[in-house]
């Protein structure tokens, strides 16, 4: 277990390595364009050693990273249940709920939701990194929370390019142009959903239940079908009809 000793030999080499490559990321260094990435990595790995220059000399241990990561951890149970539920709804709509196993349903949901989460974080954090580098500021942690909220509130079979578009719109126009985390007047995750609602109203109205269908069954496990992306919308209208695991 890592301790809070000031000198922690186990990690000195990592700390020294980070200090050694720092000059490359400063102004004039070769990798100056990636300075935000370096700063983000450094503050991720080690708590900054800066001491207060004016005002109070002591500070609370709470900071933005801790708050955001606690929120993400708090959302994980809801996400895990949601994954199970995706699989459950799939089995239910296929009419074979009696045959479905817990782990089968859970892994199905996990694999259906995973691309959404990956796209959400990659696109959102990518935009945040680029914007922070452009502004010359530290990367803010606000997107860690939005990034896990967005996959939880959009249809699970949304085409990934649509999701990326909604995220890009929301991060840029609902957060960054206001000044970044803490300066936005609208909630970033809900603006993403609102964007989808106004752009694809017929698909987002909610008069159909969003059920992930499509499966290929190898090895006795359920896998959501890897289809060309635009066809993912088509799946929504075939609820309970074709192409599910138990169809032979």
């Amino acid at each position: 277990m890592f301790s809070e000793n000031p000198i922690n030999e186990r990690n000195m080499s990592l700390r020294n390595y980070l200090d050694k490559i720092r000059p490359n990321f400063e102004k004039g260094g070769k990798l100056h364009a990636l300075k935000s990435v370096y700063d983000g990595m450094e503050t991720f790995l080690y708590v900054p050693r800066d001491t207060s220059k004016n005002g109070a000399s002591i500070h609370d241990a709470i900071d933005s990273k801790r708050i955001m990561s606690i929120v993400v951890i708090s959302l994980l149970p809801a996400m895990l249940f949601g994954m199970y539920n995706i699989g459950y709804q799939n089995a239910l709509s296929a009419g074979h709920i009696g045959d479905a196993t817990f782990w089968g349903m859970f892994v199905y949901g996990l694999l259906a939701l995973l691309p959404n989460i990956l796209v959400s974080y990659i696109v959102g954090l990518g935009i945040e990194f680029i914007w922070a580098q452009w502004k010359g500021e530290e990367i803010q942690e606000g997107y860690l929370v939005s990034g896990i909220l967005i996959p939880l509130i959009v249809p699970v079979t949304i085409p990934l390019w649509t999701l990326a578009l909604a995220i890009a719109f929301s991060v840029i126009f609902a957060k960054e142009i206001f000044g970044g985390t803490g300066m936005n007047i609208f909630n970033v995750a809900l603006i993403a959903r609102a964007f989808l609602f106004f752009a694809y109203p017929s698909k987002m109205t909610g008069d159909t239940i969003w059920v992930a269908t499509g499966a290929s069954s190898d090895w006795g496990m359920l896998f959501p079908t890897v289809t060309p992306w635009p066809r993912r919308w088509a799946k929504l209208h075939k609820v309970g009809t074709s192409m599910h695991r138990f169809q032979t």
């Binding site: 922690n8 050693r49 005002g55 803010q140 803490g182």
Partner: protein, 451 residues
């Protein structure tokens, strides 16, 4: 009887190294360093020259905008150097003390027989008037202001602060404190704020003052907080605030006729070898007070004051004019916490329930000077108001100061605050904003606008 006001908001920070109630020895010093920075809002003009001989109590520098207000020398000796910094800002005056001290004699006065103007003039003549601060703007005051009241807070509850009850436990100091209070009561009504632990002691028996008892956590001892509950300052009104140790110095002036700038200073902090109290003159070099008393294993931060509101000592510094304690905490610039933001961190203090401090209420903490996070915009709401027991919206006031909206600042109560009221808010802030600096700059800008 004493009025009791209960305060619910606030936070008591339990730091290791509280000052034990015993006296520590103090060497004598030849060099004394007097700094005009101790008096907020002051533009100083030095009236002595290098090489000139001064007596204890003679004026060293005056307020540039009001030359009546002079500031007295703590010792008699020769002015060795006037040290300036960038743009000719006066950093401090270095005085070489004589072996035998000479005092300017201002005459022993009977305070009971004096009028308010006579008291004021006597303080001006002796170079002590500038020790009185005022609200609004939280600056050193001028004699042309008419205060509606004078407030003295005898409760010192910031972490590691020197206990005033211990200071006034000495018989002669108590007499001087009473004289000082009586003198001030001739100018305007004096309100004395004491804490619930101090009620029933000699402080509740002080005469010529109206005593208010404050029952609550830090910052109940802040004079601004007390004023907000007793008699809030409106636009156009002025109140004076006096540090209780300065009241003792005023009393000494009337009782002995001499300017004797001694105060009882607590020596505290986790990095001090021995903690206690010293009876020291304002201006004595901090390194003389701390000789051999600071642990040297790690980088140490010496603070002229307490860790929340005090000024960091860098290089040469003398004991500040309003300093009631000298504290030493670890600097922390050598600490490498690996992914500290997700670790349980049992040894650090946090008010957030995402850490575990709330499960260990009585624990004493050794806190270092690290900020422990990056500076962000304000993200969480309500953080400041939880530790600010005043009837103002602290968070919106800070936002108004940052955005420079002066009408909004006035509506939200900028005339009632001083930077030290936000010291606790700065401690708990998750966005790590330099709140005291923001408020200080806001007050200075407003003062210039209104002048």
């Amino acid at each position: 009887m004493a009025n009791v006001i209960k305060l619910r908001r606030g936070l008591n920070i339990n730091l290791a190294g509280k000052a034990k109630e015993e006296s520590l020895p103090l060497d004598s010093s030849e060099a004394f360093l007097v700094s005009p920075d101790d008096f907020p809002g002051l533009t100083p003009k030095v009236v002595v020259r290098e090489g000139e001989h001064v007596k204890a109590g003679s004026v060293l520098f005056v307020d540039k905008h009001c030359s009546e207000v002079g500031f007295a020398s703590p010792v008699s000796g020769t002015v060795e150097a006037i040290v300036r910094g960038e743009r000719r800002k006066i950093l401090y005056l270095k005085i070489k003390a004589d072996a035998r001290q000479e005092y300017v004699d201002f005459g022993i006065k009977d305070v009971g027989a004096l009028s308010g103007d006579e008291v004021k003039n006597h303080l001006l003549k002796s170079g002590l008037f500038g020790y009185i601060n005022q609200l609004p703007y939280a600056v050193s005051t001028r004699p042309d202001t008419e205060p509606k009241a004078i407030f003295v807070s005898a409760l010192r509850d910031m972490p590691l602060q020197g206990d005033f009850l211990f200071e006034v436990g000495d018989e002669s100091r108590m007499k001087d404190f009473q004289t000082g209070l009586t003198a001030l009561s001739k100018i305007a009504k004096v309100y004395l704020g004491i804490g619930s632990v101090q009620s029933g002691s000699v402080l509740s028996e002080m005469k010529d003052v109206e005593i208010y008892e404050f029952n609550g956590p830090c910052p109940a001892g802040n004079v601004g907080v007390q004023i907000n509950h007793i008699s809030p300052v409106n636009k156009g009104e002025v109140v004076w605030t006096v540090d209780p140790s300065s009241v003792i110095i005023f009393g000494r002036l009337f009782n002995t006729g001499q300017v004797d700038l001694r105060r009882l200073v607590a020596i505290a902090g986790s990095e001090m070898k021995r903690t206690g109290y010293v009876d020291a003159l304002i201006g004595i070099p901090v390194e003389t007070i701390l000789k051999d008393n600071v642990k040297a294993e790690r980088n140490v931060r010496i603070i002229n004051g307490n860790p929340l509101t005090g000024r960091v000592v860098t290089g040469n510094a003398g004991l500040g004019a309003h300093t009631s304690e000298i504290t030493a905490i670890p600097e922390g610039d050598d600490v490498n916490e690996f992914v500290g933001w997700i670790m349980p961190r049992f040894k650090t203090l946090s008010t957030s329930k995402s850490y575990f401090s709330w499960l260990m209420p009585g624990k004493e903490y050794v806190l270092d000077a690290r900020i422990k996070g990056g500076k962000r915009h304000m993200i969480m709401s309500g953080e400041y108001d939880r530790v600010l027991p005043m009837d103002i919206y602290g968070e919106y006031l800070i936002k108004a100061i940052i955005s420079g909206n002066i009408e909004r600042q006035e509506e939200l109560g900028i005339y009632e605050v001083s930077p030290e009221d936000f010291a606790l808010a700065e401690f708990v802030d998750s966005s790590k904003l330099p709140l005291q600096k923001i408020v200080r700059e806001g007050l200075d800008t407003l003062r210039k606008e209104n002048a």
